[in-house]
Symmetry: D2
Subunit: 245 residues, 4 copies
């Protein structure tokens, strides 16, 4: 087992899985997801390839659940340090006109994108700080953003609320912890992702590579993690070559 681990929250998505596989080339990998069926196939795949992986069931929106998971991780990975934390949790959101939305729709978006990031960062940041002297690359917290992180639009209101807030948190963390050696970055994913379960969704007229490859996202996250501390990127836009922007 590596002396360092990466933790990925929201490991069940295409992005989460690819990021886990990419970071597993160098680190032990810890996967958090709401259901074990989300992380287990990835854990198995990493282990089959000779890597080290651990899955935990946790609800990112529930501080107690996150707390329990980290307590268990600290026991299971005793002596292993946190080199990279990736917050990739996503709640679905209500794609509706504003006047059809319920207060609960807003809560759902905020609880995962905003509160969940807050809880997770409170657990991750002290562990990342502790790894600053020893980590092979600057300990990193990478957050998965979206177009809605920088642009509100009709029917995306609750999503934008959560993603904007997430960006505000990420910027605040970057400015507080960058000078302490922790690299906090937001990846603004501006386009449809080519997930296994979304093969039928037509994006950019179905042109080849018109959806973002999760493996390509993972390479970008690894690049962010391995940036020299004299050359940190804080916000990285990622979009297909054919995307309008």
């Amino acid at each position: 087992m590596s002396k360092f681990y990466a933790i990925i929250v929201g490991a069940g998505s295409g992005t989460g899985a690819s990021v886990a596989l990419r970071f597993a080339k160098s680190y032990s990998v810890v996967l958090l997801a709401r259901k074990s069926t989300n992380y287990q196939p990835i854990v198995d795949e990493i282990r089959a390839a000779g890597g080290s992986a651990f899955g935990y069931t946790a609800d990112a929106a529930d501080p107690a659940s996150v707390d329990t998971a980290f307590s268990q991780i600290d026991k299971d990975l005793k002596g292993v340090q946190l080199a990279a934390a990736v917050y990739n949790a996503n709640a679905g959101f209500a794609y509706k006109p504003f006047l059809d939305l319920k207060p609960e729709d807003l809560d759902t978006s905020l609880s995962t994108a905003t509160n969940g990031l807050f809880y997770f960062a409170q657990k991750a940041i002290p562990r990342l700080l502790a790894a600053v002297p020893s980590s092979p690359h600057p300990p990193s917290l990478i957050v998965t953003g979206a177009t809605a992180s920088i642009r509100g639009s009709a029917k995306f209101l609750t999503f934008a609320a959560g993603k904007f807030a997430q960006r505000g948190i990420t910027q605040s963390l970057a400015r507080e912890f960058g000078p302490q050696g922790v690299h906090v970055a937001l990846a603004i994913i501006d386009g449809g992702i080519d997930t296994p379960w979304g093969k039928d969704r037509v994006v950019n007229n179905g042109v080849e590579d018109g959806k973002i490859s999760p493996e390509a996202i993972a390479e970008n996250y690894w690049h962010l993690h391995t940036q020299h501390r004299s050359a940190f990127t804080h916000e990285l836009d990622i979009r297909p070559y054919v995307e309008k922007f």
Copy 2:
């Protein structure tokens, strides 16, 4: 009484009071605040000057409370239409290093800046839409933002979370309801405000007009409200001439 009214949430602040007084020159004014002591002096001042004003006690962060207030307003101002809605509610926020924050600190910021705006807009937007054909100026929803609406920073994390989310909501509303004739705008107040209770706070080295005049903010809000629908401004920065930015 005017055939139109403006509603101001967060009427107890320097900004809220000045906005109420400004809009009272043309409209009846409805003030919402958590405590009657916040709005009563302004109600009295407007009435003394021959204007029309009404105060309601409501907690912007509580949907039931907002709902009750609007039901009462609909009765009290029967036949009067909503021409302008100003969301100026502010919760205090915890000015602390991230690792000293509690989840409740985040909730406090979000509940007023984000959830409160959502509840308020759900009440205000249908009333503003109804006024489109008759209102002397495009019915308007104006939101009071801050530097933290566009910039996260250390010790401002919870404030930034709420204010970023508020901006995401405001942009989404602007894009959905602009084409229907409702003007939704965010005022980004980038500087200290010259409030009665903050006279001792030194800003910009105490230089004259180094704090933002609440009356000047109110003039800006009135300008936003009176913009022709062919020339809407959606985000307006406001800062003192001496402010670094």
Copy 3:
């Protein structure tokens, strides 16, 4: 004649004419344009309404021409102080794919949007600074920007080059001269303008008020000029209610 004057460069456009008429309500107005046929009708209209107006032929892109014009203005308006300067000069631009552009196409855009603003500001700023103690409103330099000030796009490359540079200059001037009491602002006009000669151009599906009213732009410029110095706006977006943004 007023003790103060406003100067408008690019007075022949719909915007320039409306701004001149608006500012003429309070100030003497000086109009600069490449051809006297551009400014003379506006000069006549202002004078017919009892106002004070002066036209000068000058090429904004030519420093010697600008220099000559200001020398003449100083003589003709001896003792009158400059309260507001509006830079509204526009060269046409080559709406072409990049590989069809010539270096001269870039020069044309830069010479008016960028170099012209530079020359004009070098003449206007000292005169605005001189008026700080006496001007009824903070002496102002207002620049007419466009969507291309903040967004480059295919076929708009030369326009974007000039407009981006103009924004960089305007921001730099705002930060240098704001603390000295001069208000420098950029108006980002994001939409088609309803000019007399563009009546046939269909914008926003021809919907009513789908083009920006030049009079509405002029009201916005007057508002910028009359902002209290504790509450300056530095960038103002202006777009029709139906505009996608």
Copy 4:
């Protein structure tokens, strides 16, 4: 010799040299600089390490000079295709109060940052397009920006003018040529660079890694170049961990 080459304009700087060395690991490298003493040491270093490098004397601000250089390159590297073009040319700029600037100061900044990029892109883009079907990575045009690309400030006016315009051009190119398979990106270098000749300049209080490592910039450029076309980044901020932003 590789079947592909990278061209770097402004090769004499710390950034240009490091980028050349990095790209020389995979490609032949062509260096353009105003003086052969700027590129020759890098050419020698690359050759000594077994790589392939060619230097050309050219003035980026002079279209004829750029034209001549490309004609010669086409002969010298017949059959070799252009995979990456890096525009890193920098003119000095006049760090002065606005009223002390001369029109020539603006011209100097624009001629290199803006006109020079235009000329260079007109030569590079057709060659990059030709390489789309064969290049191992999406053919790329990478432009070196600065803080002044996104922020104007006092004493940086001419620099901001050129860098803003450069950004407008880069965005326009990205939107026109991205869908054709060419990756156009702007790197926003926000901090002092650790160049050999600037060792004595104190940045960020002299803290270790408080200046940006040119090698780290080069790694970022290589990452941009090797991004999958489904996951292009168009603007990349780069700054030291201790930089205020």
